[in-house]
Symmetry: C2
């Protein structure tokens, strides 16, 4: 049904390309989920089939992240922005202050959302440098913050925190939407981390939220309707409302795919993919990388600009001829952005870098 | 791939059974969406493919509901409970009062959620009758209410408002999650109506929200983060955050299926299905219907109880032998509940009623 020669090479920033074997299994489950006689779209969300599936997904993500029973894991709808609201609703009193490391559009938006609920403190920002690097964290930032939030990978401008920032006694919260399980990382250092699925973990409509149990105990006491109350969501084990079983299942398939490859192998591949691409851009007279500081470059999103409109026109034609799509920069940034999430093959990156080298 | 002889007859209250042709098309789109060379899980949410798909879905639901440009239609994640929050957040000042017709679990829960944001007034309730009928609306209820909210169909106890309540000058809001597009209805009488997709309109993870434009102008002025702000959601045309394109596509397929049958034909079939089933229960010495008042009975969910454990045991065995599933009553109600949403065939209802008659 899927002709590989017509399948697009999609370097989009998310929704991202998924492995063909994941798509095949997901497609089959829409017809019949695990020989249950029901589609994955039809299984009851409180029934054993769905419970087992969600439990398996939760256990697997804990195993791959190396976190244990000191964390709750739940699966939510509403994208990253829902969490931009949920986190301050649950952890920021109106008179308290949350800190933010501003390394790009999404971290800034997370701060703006939090400001509806409490005070915010821009601990560090690379906005003056137009987000072409990571901000330097002051050593003496306030330890009175309710939490410190940052975005591990900046999809729009192509920077990535390869090391976990030191937050001292302040609980650390991370939006890992665009680089979760793409490299080895000490997930136990976070009080809360979250990631939408449509980049490295599956399809839109599902968001992983992992909350350290002792952090959840510090939930602010404001009365929240259950939908917005992490304690209620945790107690209902992701089925407070009808779970998006299909999207959770696609995440389960992606987690199995990641486990089969192994995180260290995925990490190595991601480093290789980005190094191939950065090298071709750095060596090219026709393109300039957006992020000059190599230590701050993202392995997930590589952003670059053509030196002139002629280069741009020739590059666009070659990409189209080679069935490549999804490389336009974010509407707020322009230029090109190539996303190299887990499911992007080395071979596809090589093809793109050859095109870049040819111009 | 899908053997029809092993396919369950699923009378679940939602997620509900979908037509085989809808499942086939949805399954195919997971592999390749409309010969785009991309899975429906991979298409960019702000790209033309996704925009066109959402626009088509919106146009079709407007056509089928008979509403025009005086309504905004958006597609949201987070289930009905997200709307239980969104509606008071947008339309209920803390010092104002919203009215509720309490006809079952869901209408009561909608009221409880609204109470986090403002005052609530239980205009009428059938809770003293354990929800086995609809409540009578007092003729003199306050016209100062911010809105009057009701649930058109009570899934758990099996009652349904076949006529639209008179709300006078008070804006009328309805949760139509379990009976939207199941019958002919004057949708233009509502200021806002919403419906999760997993019963009559597709799969979990998608919720239709239709808002009359002049009602949206009456949004309360409290500052809301964009995720919770209907005006922001409307302005972003359902892609404020990454849309659940797959679930919206399944809804589009269901809407096309509904249009092909025609609402009046669907209405006739739903009446026929429920009358077949109610008759078999009314005529049976072994079962009693939960809702005695025939004018209040739901055509969507038929609730009944066995007269003794022996009947229950025999019924359960026969259902299992006939591959029937999803008939257990809600955990809060007990007994049996048979859901007869749009995609349930007359033939399957006849089989069930024959089993009931045989006991």
């Amino acid at each position: 049904m899927m002709k590989t020669d017509t399948r697009k090479i999609n370097f989009g920033a998310g929704p991202a390309m998924l492995p063909p074997e994941v798509l095949l299994q997901a497609s089959q489950a829409v017809l019949d989920y695990n020989q249950s006689g029901m589609s994955i779209l039809e299984i009851p969300h409180r029934g054993q089939l769905c419970r087992d599936m969600i439990d398996e997904c939760t256990a697997l993500v804990k195993e791959l992240c190396g976190i244990g029973d000191d964390f709750h894991v739940i699966w939510q709808q509403g994208g990253g922005r829902q969490q931009f609201c949920m986190i301050p609703l649950n952890f920021l009193r109106p008179d308290a202050t949350a800190g933010f490391l501003i390394s790009g559009h999404w971290s800034k938006e997370a701060m703006e959302y939090a400001h509806f609920y409490g005070n915010v403190n821009e601990v560090a920002s690379s906005e003056p440098m137009k987000f072409n690097c990571l901000p330097a964290i002051p050593v003496d930032f306030s330890q009175e913050l309710a939490y410190l939030h940052y975005t591990t990978n900046n999809t729009i401008f192509g920077t990535q925190w390869h090391d976990i920032p030191q937050s001292g006694a302040v609980p650390l919260i991370a939006d890992m939407s665009s680089d979760i399980l793409s490299s080895e990382r000490d997930y136990s250092r976070f009080s809360l981390f979250y990631a939408v699925a449509q980049k490295n973990l599956g399809a839109a409509g599902n968001c992983l939220v992992a909350i350290r149990k002792d952090f959840l105990d510090r939930q602010v006491s404001a009365k929240l309707p259950p939908s917005f109350d992490f304690k209620a969501q945790v107690a209902e084990r992701s089925v407070l409302n009808t779970a998006n079983a299909f999207a959770i299942y696609v995440t389960l398939l992606m987690l199995k795919w990641i486990k089969a490859k192994g995180i260290s192998s995925i990490n190595a591949d991601n480093k290789l993919k980005s190094s191939i691409l950065y090298r071709s851009i750095d060596d090219s007279p026709s393109f300039v990388p957006y992020v000059a500081n190599k230590a701050h470059r993202s392995n997930m999103n590589v952003c670059f600009f053509p030196v002139n409109p002629d280069v741009e026109a020739r590059f666009n034609i070659l990409c189209k001829q080679n069935n490549i799509t999804g490389i336009a920069g974010h509407r707020s940034a322009g230029g090109y952005r190539v996303s190299l999430y887990n499911a992007i093959s080395i071979q596809n990156v090589q093809l793109l870098s050859e095109i870049i080298a040819s111009i």
